[in-house]
């Protein structure tokens, strides 16, 4: 379980708070969407939840332990992050990228054994990328790259993933691929996930609960169908939107209608 307890954060002393008194809870098996406009602090919140930044005040707790007191290895074994995009400075193959996910499970001079290869291959299979194993990462398409990176995260910690706008740089087809993958991983394997995203329809499709962030504060927090309302969309983005259940897909859709000038 991952908890934020009245967390605030500023990047430098004297600058405004980016995250301002956020409390939330992500329980085992949850699939939480974190929504908010640009600059609302959702990426920073994700960094705080992953422990790569330390709160200015308040605490982040991983399974009841204060995150800032845990070592990176310890955290990494329980929780993996997936960035929006992965740019490599050097050329690695897909399997090498996934095996790097095993870092926190290996001793300093230990090399990956049969178990690590088995876990890595299972992760590739789970993300539908087993056939890409030997391919150089930089030759993959955007959607393939993202699925390989998700495989690396699974090979690292199959319990909990934090994803930062995982579909933002993908075209429509790949967005659907990744959305289906995330939904399946949560549904079939019980992987706990927190996803920050700009894509309201992605969130409506796969997330069971939503946290809405505006100006570093939690605007609303609850089940998707209760939280995703025209009022909240207006409060978040200054946009008039039509929100309804889409008959063919069976989940909620958000149709932006008009931009309101504040």
């Amino acid at each position: 379980m991952l908890q934020a307890d009245n967390v605030t954060f500023r990047y430098h002393a004297g600058t405004p708070l980016v995250v301002d008194g956020v409390s939330l809870e992500i329980r085992r098996g949850d699939l939480v969407g974190i929504l908010g406009p640009n600059g609302s602090g959702k990426t920073t919140l994700l960094r705080l939840l992953s422990g790569t930044r330390v709160p200015s005040s308040g605490r982040v707790l991983l399974d009841g332990q204060v995150m800032s007191r845990l070592g990176r290895r310890d955290i990494a074994r329980r929780m993996a992050i997936v960035p929006q995009e992965t740019e490599l400075a050097f050329e690695y193959t897909a399997i090498e990228i996934v095996l790097m996910g095993r870092h926190s499970h290996l001793g300093v001079f230990e090399v990956e054994g049969p178990d690590d290869y088995r876990i890595a291959r299972e992760a590739l299979a789970a993300t539908g990328t087993a056939h890409l194993e030997g391919r150089p990462f930089h030759t993959l398409s955007g959607g393939e790259k993202q699925r390989v990176v998700i495989a690396a995260a699974l090979a690292q910690a199959s319990d909990m993933l934090l994803l930062d706008e995982p579909t933002a740089s993908l075209d429509l087809g790949y967005q659907l691929d990744v959305a289906a993958l995330l939904s399946a991983l949560n549904g079939d394997r019980g992987v706990t996930m927190a996803i920050s995203t700009h894509d309201l329809n992605l969130a409506a499709t796969i997330c069971r609960t939503l946290v809405l962030i505006r100006n570093g504060r939690v605007l609303a927090n609850g089940p998707t169908d209760e939280v995703l309302t025209p009022d909240h969309v207006r409060a978040l983005y200054d946009v008039d939107a039509d929100v309804h259940v889409h008959a063919a897909s069976g989940h909620m859709t958000v149709v932006p209608v008009r931009r309101l000038r504040p």
């Binding site: 790569t52 074994r77 993996a80 490599l88 690695y92 193959t93 870092h103 090399v111």
Partner: protein, 333 residues
């Protein structure tokens, strides 16, 4: 092929190559000598001219080349990963410029503080490199957590040009003989004369390699970005600090021994990556061994191509490395 077997094959192959080069290189020169006579213990040392030429006249230079080549290549690998920039070199961060300034000052002011068989120039140049390391680190670490690679790069580039200006000033104020010595030094020269300077540089280099040994997996992950590396379980700030200090210290020691021999630190890492892939657990030992062989061979060319004139090795590495570097740039864009 799994990593263990790849390591065995790669290290085995590259070790054999490096060893062959180091044994063969001293036999080449104005007087040709015979390896079987060199190692023939039946001949007394005083009568064994081949052994004297091998061990006294030529081996120190070859060993210096191997040590410097190995060090600059490995430091290049580490710094490229740290900076997430395949075009970084061991000299990018200003260490060599600091070392050069130290050497220039020692030559120009005729400093005479040699100890333990090491003359004043390498000592001053090593101190210069330490000063540069301290300045760059102070600048790059005063910002937020960890090392900012952007500030590292900017500080290094700035320091390089600032020190270069000081070097030019010192040269301008020097007399003719001093100027010639300083220019010779800046070209990189492996003619160390005896084993003393090599032994003096070795402890620093060995210490740096001990740190290199624990870094490779963290270096792999650092190339994916700091946040991802941290998320995968790397203590990023600590890994960056160790990488920076070990690679810089090794570079400082190597440069104070042989001068700023250019291009080894970028040509060798890239050639090795083309051969063995990018996993730093393989790249680092392979680049170390290949770097040793590469510089010894370059030096062999340097001292035979215009014999009896012996060129500084830096001219040869630059002639090979310059076009290679340009090819890399073109290939990247």
């Amino acid at each position: 092929m799994n990593l263990r077997r790849r390591l065995l094959v790669v290290i085995g192959g590259f070790s054999a190559m490096a060893l062959a080069v180091v044994l063969w290189a001293p036999t080449v020169g104005s007087t040709s000598i015979d390896l079987t006579r060199v190692f023939d213990t039946g001949i007394p040392w005083a009568d064994n001219v081949d052994a004297q030429i091998f061990f006294v006249a030529r081996l120190p230079r070859v060993l210096a080349g191997a040590l410097i080549g190995a060090t600059l290549a490995a430091a290049g690998v580490v710094l490229q990963a740290l900076m997430r920039n395949p075009l970084a070199t061991p000299f990018t961060l200003g260490v060599s410029a600091g070392a050069a300034l130290g050497a220039m000052l020692a030559i120009a002011f005729h400093l005479d503080v040699g100890t333990l068989g090491v003359s004043s120039v390498p000592i001053a140049s090593f101190l210069g490199s330490l000063a540069a390391i301290a300045i760059v680190y102070a600048l790059a670490s005063s910002q937020r957590r960890g090392l900012s690679t952007n500030i590292l790069l900017l500080a290094g580039v700035t320091l390089n040009s600032f020190f270069s200006a000081l070097i030019l000033f010192v040269q301008y104020m020097s007399d003719f003989a001093e100027s010639f010595r300083t220019v010779r030094w800046l070209m990189g020269d492996l003619d160390v004369g005896s084993y003393g300077p090599i032994l003096a540089a070795t402890p620093f280099i060995v210490a740096a390699f001990a740190v290199f040994a624990v870094l490779p997996r963290a270096l792999n992950l650092l190339t994916m970005g700091e946040d991802v590396a941290a998320g995968r379980g790397v203590e990023v700030a600590r890994a960056q600090r160790w990488a920076f200090f070990s690679a810089s210290l090794a570079t400082g020691a190597a440069v104070s021994l042989g001068g700023p021999v250019g291009f080894v630190g970028i040509v060798v890492p890239h050639l090795v990556r083309l051969m063995v892939g990018s996993d730093h657990r393989v790249v680092l030992p392979a680049a170390t061994l290949f770097g040793a062989a590469f510089l010894v061979l370059c030096d062999l060319v340097a001292r035979t191509i215009m014999a009896p004139l012996e060129l500084p090795v830096g001219i040869v590495t630059a002639l090979i490395g310059g076009p290679f570097f340009l090819w890399l740039l073109v290939r990247q864009s």
